[in-house]
Amino acid sequence: MPILAFTLNDFIGLAYLVASVLFILGLKMMSQVATARRGNFISSAGMALAGVVTLLYIGDNQLISLTWVFAALLIGTAIGLLLALKTPMTGMPQMVALLNGFGGMASLLVACGDYVNSVSRHSHLNPLVLQVMTRPWSELLAVGLTVLVGGVTFTGSMIAFGKLQGLKITPSKPIQFPGQKATIAALLVLCLILSCVMIPTPMSGQWMVPTIAVAALLLGVLLVIGIGGADMPVVICLLNSYSGIAGAFAGFVLNNMALIITGSLVGASGLILTNIMCKAMNRSLANVLFGGVGANEGQASSGSDGAPQGNARQFLVEDVTYLLGNASQVMVVPGYGMAVAQAQHAVADMGKLLEERGIKVRYAIHPVAGRMPGHMNVLLAEANVPYDVLLDLDGSNAEFEQTDVALIIGANDVTNPAARHAKSSPIYGMPILDCDKAKQVVVIKRSLNPGFAGVENELYFRDNCGMLFGDAKKMVTELISRLKQEG
């Protein structure tokens, strides 16, 4: 029996295995604050290993000259660094959306490039003969699927980016039109059929692959344009998952284990987060994707002009200062409004001021507060709030009854007690922060307008609740100066 020598390919394969192990370890370490940073570093080491080994493998026997390869790497590095270092923390949701999209686009291009390679090689070898490409069915199918998922990831992410950035062409409220779901279904079926038809007729991919690409890009736009701004945490998780799946499919095209393993890891983690986000809103993924929730965002449900209505009590700055100064436990409940007003530093300063007076200050953070999973945690961490006073849903709800003042800053639907009892409410069943159980509730808000779900918050009309109308940052700053005056 011949002894098979240890080849370069074996070496590469083993290096990919090591890289995959580093990714798994890195991800595992990222589930604890103490080890998270090291985990990220280990995972980046895995990426460096995979990249360098691949470069060695390519050597100088490549289609694209190494000059181009390195130029591309340099350009990518420069843009990546610029984005990563210059984006403010409030811009993180957009940034993550953008990067997701780029990953999807890269996978799409990889699949297309690989297809062009095999077609060209064939046309060149048999220019006159009837061209029959011999590639396994699985690789041809994978080309179609990679282009599909990669394309959806790219345009879907770009639309999400636009909505989060507040661009005019992509309004934050859901855009739905008649026949949208049918068009989405038709495009999806078209892509799947073409991917399958390509198997027996590989050469026809020359027009099919571009067709799939166009259909997939359109599909991504249609899928995300119908989803409202506040549902973006779910969309970001889902697109994150898609970008992983696109990578794994690209792995099937190239028969590369590193891509398959890593892509599916990311695909799975994205799905888990998607599921967590959906549960936190008590909605199904289908409802988030196609429900069009938030279409009447910013409009009062009872046809008001946005002026205070009902008999909500209005507080002045001095009332709130008095309440805070005499409390022994304060729970701050931040929401998207805090991010919009960029009030996280002011909020943290106020917290510190209260702490100095021996008042226990903690922060209650709902899983879907903000525009991306964990958005509030990152903003407060940026403002130097230690993470052990940031409580999650269960942690905060265990504390509200002992809380003297619950100070709600820019959160709305996640504090609405209607979710517990009003069966007809669109948010019924959604796990909420039980702010109403605190002795006193103070809400900093610009008006009584309903939140994203378009329902009025009955918390505002409770006896233990008072409103401080105004911009979050301005109001918190005023509270701080007042607290200092009273010293």
């Binding site: 995959s20 990714f23 798994i24 991800l27 990222m30 604890q32 940073r37 990220n40 995972s43 995979a50 990249g51 691949t54 390519i58 490549q62 289609l63 181009w68 390869v69 350009i75 990518g76 843009i79 990546g80 984005l83 990563a84 940034m95 993550v96 990067l99 780029f102 890269a106 291009l109 990889v110 490039g113 062009v116 060209s120 046309s123 396994p136 994150n240 970008s243 992983g244 696109a246 099937f252 095209v253 190239l254 284990m257 590193a258 398959i260 393993i261 892509g263 990311v266 799975a268 983690s269 799905l271 888990i272 953070i365 999973p373 964990g374 945690n377 990152v378 230690p386 006073v389 999650d392």
Partner: protein, 118 residues
């Protein structure tokens, strides 16, 4: 009869298992590992986890580099040109994903601090 149906599905003990089957096995098992590894992440770390796993999905950079790997002589001029453009763009996009993702994740994780013990 059994032999006949096995032959229909291409089952032949002398033939090695197709690559795709190995790939599917790896794919399926990796998904399960992904579920296990991520399952208990605190809300606190959701954003860094999203951006960190996003960086990992930039592994497609390996694919981009490999797509660039092909013998020059075998390609026609048009094909060569198209493949060059696609490959270069793929590398650029994947690199932004990788570098941007890791750096921004580190930037975020750096900010998470415990309160000083009193």
């Amino acid at each position: 009869m059994l032999n006949y149906s096995l032959a229909l599905f291409g089952a032949n003990p002398a033939q090695p298992v197709q690559q795709i089957i190995i790939a599917l096995v790896v794919f399926t098992l990796a998904i399960f590992i992904g579920f296990e590894v991520i399952n208990r992440v605190p809300v606190l770390l959701h954003t860094p986890l999203t951006s960190g796993s996003n960086a990992i999905s930039g592994i497609t950079i390996v694919g981009a580099l490999l797509a660039a790997y092909s013998t020059k002589e075998a390609l026609g001029h048009t094909g060569e040109f198209i493949a060059t453009v696609l490959g270069t763009l793929a590398i650029i996009f994947a690199t932004i994903n990788v570098i941007g993702g890791y750096v921004v994740t580190d930037r975020m994780l750096k900010m998470f601090k415990k309160s000083p013990r009193k």
